[in-house]
């Protein structure tokens, strides 16, 4: 059954949590162990104890100072108790301030470390990793998934410890104050736990369903805005409105359900707690009547019992949060466990300044195990040569340059630069000496200047301008409102494809690589720019070993060596004149075809 639009959903989290994952997550908190301990100590000692002591003091004030059962009221004692309360409140003020600052500090540090570790790891991964995954899903892990652990690390850990302590503290106090009444009231605690847990679980599932539907809606909105021109050109507005209404309706239905359930939580808990209140009032007054308890203690009991709820509800929320966090953690660790397909050898050396002698020795490679993309490739390229790689889509042209840059490793054979196997060189030293101009020029947000400087951040303004002039980009840049300081960005940028291409030429020229690769770099350029690019290419190719992957004849014809590929095998190589002399040759065929298209 096909639908007009289809969106991939996250899975519903069904399982309870994974201790191993939890333990691994906690390794990130380990460096801050002493800080955590200190906060927990401060909060338990000053924050919680003051809170628990207050109702006790109030009960004392009532029973001993205001209306003692025996003897006269004691106004002095009342002053004393109130002063004591004030001191405790002041302590609590300080303790809370300290806890808020510290828990956030710890949490943010942990999140920072975790995100840095994840990003660093992803940076080290190879193309194979990125080939398989859409950019959006990688992004979500570094941003949203890490963010969703924030609550766990800032408040979650510390608060849970404090909550458990508070719960135990209340129980102890209640039992000490009036053992029998304490026991009686506590009968309701398991009931609360059960009700709260079962309701929470349902609520959690309901909200998850809502979230999934909501993210579907967001995906659709996003793409319907981006694709609006297609929609309008194909007159699909009404159909889309119908589709969206269905989506929206289904989302609201789940939302109604979840929200109705969610709203049930508070009232149900309150009704459950009413059982406790009933016991408290009936049995409490009975105890007062029999002289086993005072009014002050009853008031204290009422306060303590109302404190009960806070930690229980919070712990329940915490548990739900933990389950959600665990699924984020799982997704993060899945990436952390990815091994880079192209790794640096332990003894890798810095590649010395490259002269540009490139050799491929019997190279074999495949993106997938059973489908070789290149077989038996032998190439010997002298420094300074311009090499054109020619062939149909999928013939292996781009694969050759990917192997040269070591974006992938060969399956068999080796790739040598100046006699050094690329696998023995440090990746950084290898790639910084190779420049690539890709078909889609990626523009980073920032100024034009920053973009040109991308490969050599320390270049001076004069050098940037010189590079732009050499590739004929200076003219259009100086016509922009802020010249070199014009802010550009990937989407919504005002640059045409051709202008972007010129920028990327300037970028490559400024980086001044010893080996230059142009990967279909001149495919989508408008006529005006085309003429400029032809001129710019001359400057770009001078004095360095270059590889050109292109469909256009004009860029290929002057190459020192033309390598013709077909289904991963080199079928011909030589210069233009040599190859044109081969009757029935591939190259000649391609050239003839191009002119035939022109005139057929």
């Amino acid at each position: 059954m096909s639908r007009k639009f289809q969106y991939q959903d996250d899975d519903l989290i069904e399982k309870s949590f994974n201790w191993k994952q939890m333990a691994r997550l906690f390794t990130y908190i380990k460096p801050y162990r002493t800080e955590v301990n200190r906060v927990v100590f401060v909060m338990t000692a000053f924050g919680m104890l003051t809170k628990l002591a207050i109702p006790f003091l109030i009960s004392m004030a009532i029973d001993r100072a205001i209306q003692p059962r025996e003897g006269d009221p004691n106004q002095g004692l009342l002053y004393g108790i109130m002063a004591g309360m004030l001191v405790l409140y002041a302590l609590r003020w300080w303790a809370q301030r300290y806890t808020i600052l510290k828990t956030n500090e710890i949490g943010q540090k942990v999140i920072y470390d975790l995100r840095t570790a994840l990003f660093k790891h992803i940076q080290g991964l190879s193309f194979r990793f990125f080939d398989k995954r859409p950019a959006g899903s990688v992004l979500v892990r570094v941003t949203n998934d890490v963010n969703s652990l924030q609550d766990l690390f800032t408040n979650g850990v510390v608060n849970s410890v404090i909550d458990i302590a508070q719960l135990l503290g209340i129980i102890v106090i209640l039992l000490c104050l009036q053992f029998k009444l304490g026991l009686a009231v506590m009968i309701t605690v398991p009931l609360m736990f059960v009700v709260s847990a079962s309701l929470r679980k349902r609520i959690r599932f309901a909200w998850q369903t809502v979230r999934i539907k909501q993210s579907r809606i967001n995906s659709h909105l996003n793409e319907s805005i981006q694709g609006i021109r297609v929609t309008q050109a194909f007159a699909q507005e009404k159909e889309n409105i119908g589709f969206f209404d269905g989506m929206n309706r289904s989302n609201i239905r789940s939302w109604n359900f979840a929200s109705a359930l969610n709203q049930l939580f508070g009232p149900v808990i309150e009704i459950t707690s009413a059982a406790g209140t009933l016991i408290l009032l009936l049995y409490g007054t009975h105890l007062i009547q029999s002289g086993a308890m005072t009014v002050g203690v009853l008031v204290a009991f009422i306060t303590y019992v109302s404190y009960f709820w806070e930690p229980i509800t919070r712990l329940g929320q915490m548990y739900s949060q933990l389950l959600i966090s665990m699924s984020s953690a799982e997704r993060i660790f899945e990436y952390m466990d990815e091994k880079p397909a192209v790794g640096e050898k332990p003894g890798a050396v810095d590649l010395p300044d490259v002269r540009g002698h490139v050799r491929f020795e019997n190279v074999e490679f495949g993106y997938e195990a059973d489908r070789p993309a290149l077989r038996g490739i032998d190439l010997d390229i002298e420094p300074g040569m311009t090499v054109a790689l020619v062939g149909h889509t999928g013939s292996g042209k781009s694969t050759i340059v990917n192997l040269l840059c070591r974006f992938y490793d060969t399956v068999k054979g080796r790739v040598l630069i100046d006699g050094i196997d690329v696998r023995d060189a440090k990746l950084d030293s290898l790639r910084s000496q190779i420049g690539i101009v890709l078909q889609d020029t990626f523009i980073f947000s920032g100024t034009i200047r920053d973009n040109i400087r991308y490969g050599r951040p320390d270049a001076t303004d004069a050098e940037v301008e010189a590079a732009a002039r050499s590739v004929r980009a200076h003219d259009f840049i100086s016509q922009l409102p802020d010249g070199y300081d014009t802010e550009v960005q990937e989407r919504g940028s005002a640059l045409s494809m051709g202008q972007r291409q010129l920028l990327s030429f300037a970028r490559a020229l400024l980086a001044d690589p010893r080996i230059l690769i142009l990967d279909e770099a001149t495919a989508s350029i408008d006529t005006e720019t085309e003429l400029r690019i032809q001129e710019a290419l001359g400057t770009l190719l001078a004095d360095r070993t270059s590889f050109i992957v292109a469909h256009r004849l004009s860029t290929i014809r002057h190459a020192d060596l033309i390598v013709v590929l077909d289904h991963g095998v080199i079928v011909e190589q030589g210069n233009h004149d040599q190859l044109m002399k081969l009757p029935g040759g591939h190259y000649r065929g391609l050239i003839e075809a191009q002119y035939r298209f022109l005139s057929a």
């Binding site: 007009k4 009342l78 940076q123 793409e223 939302w255 494809m497 989508s524 006529t527 004009s554």
Partner: protein, 595 residues
Amino acid sequence: MDVFRGLKAFFWQDKGFLLGSVLGLAAATALGLVYPLLLRVLIDDMIVPGEFDGLVALALLAVGIVVLKAGCQYVHGFSGGRLGNRLAYRLRNASYEKLQVLPFSFYDSARTGDLMSRLTADIEGIRNFIGFGFAQLMNTAFLVLFGFTMMAIIDWPLMLMTLAIIPVLSYVAIRFELHIHPVFRSIRAAVGRLTVSVQENIMGVRTVKSFASEKHEMNKFKGGNENYRDNHLALAAVWAKYFPVIEFIANLSVVLLLLAGGIRVIHGSLTLGSLVSLNGMLGMIVAPLWTLGFQINNYTQSKAAGERLLELLHQPVTIRSADRALELKDDNVQGHVQFEDVSFRYPNHEHQPSALLGFNLDVPPGSVIGLLGGTGSGKSTVVQLLLRAYDVGEGAITLDGVDIRHIELESLRRQTAIVFQESFLFSTTIRENIAYGQADASEEAIIEAAKLSQAHEFIMELPLGYDTIVGERGMGLSGGQKQRIAIARALLLKPKILILDDSTSALDMETEHVIQQSLRKVMAGRTTFIIAHRISSLRHADEIVVLDRGRVVQRGKHEQLLRQPGLYRETYRAQYADRPDELDAAAAGERRVSG
């Protein structure tokens, strides 16, 4: 309140729920205040005098009140939830419908992120405020009013004393809000910055790796990550500064009440029960007060959200069908297009020169028109005007002699199909993408369209074939593959008018050539517009129009244009300057043969 009056149409039909939400909460609050009163009765009338006759009744009454209160609370929650949800549903549908019909000129200056936040975060803000926030704001007012009235009934001097706390607490709460508001804003900015730094890194991974600039990227990321952390710490600092103070002030009021009340009890001018119940009430009043800042914030935020949403909903739809517009019937359309002295300037670009000036073109049915020119020459404008993506400034465009502004918009666009420069695919299967313009297309028709656009072969090589999900979150396709699917999408419609807006740039020449040949068959008797940079794409057009800065500089057939000096010949030379002599003669011969 104008904003909420503007939004009234979206929630007023649910005024029952609105009432339920407000009254439910108010009733729950009122019942909550009864509880301390019961305590007073318990202490003063039963415990102190030692008369426990009515105890069971009192306890049951207490439980009854709790249950009733819970019920009222549920009424509030349920009504608020329903009210907000139905409002969100209507708002979302209305905004989406609006987005569907807003013209290209709107989207030229709109940003996706901004529209997205209006349809998500802003609707969310309104949902929360109308559903719950409004009731809570009312409730705070009720609570303060009822609470202090009841306290006054019990003991008015003590009430007056505690009343002093209100302005202090409100002052701090509002300052808190003022202080925290900018922090929230900079947190949003920090999140954006972090996202961009990661997003660019991932999307530009090829560039990053090929320049070996991982270290530079790491630093950029570090900046974003630190910024994110520091802003959250700044938030924590504000929180740490205010939250404990607010709690302390509230606690202080309790101490004062107990102290003053305690003395009064000692002196016999107040009962113990009254003191205990006053203490309970104070706790209840203070609790919502310190969230006052948040509630006010909630209100101002949702007001701003409402304004943004209404702004979108009130956007004028400048391109729409005229009254009594002519509805085109498929069979009657010939496809004769005429541009009569058309001039056009992009909206929002009034200070710039016209995108098209005095443009004339006669396109008889079945002809092929080629358009050539640099960036900003106006060639895309020509076809976009034909689609009525914009309306012409001066002059007119006619289809079969009828001004396109008098034709029903949908039926006009159904006669045309365009392949855009950037091939946008939706997240769904390849099959659905090809059938985008015609959902009921048969399997055979879809495959045929894919074959014509040279897409069938690579589609079949994908593991799931036509069922492969593509689009932003789906399978990554190359630029050339996307273009071929976009072409298939247009061809499936068998349009009377086909427009290819530089849509074969990512294809190799051979593939492009094969597609062109099949086009010639499919489009026989139909009208085609081709915008391209390659001479080979334009070569066979019946008329080639060369544009420069909105004006026609050359027009004619390939051979004619080659003989004239000008942009066309220059382009030809750039692309074929190195044309080998041995092929030249042959090609010339072939040309003669094919005429």
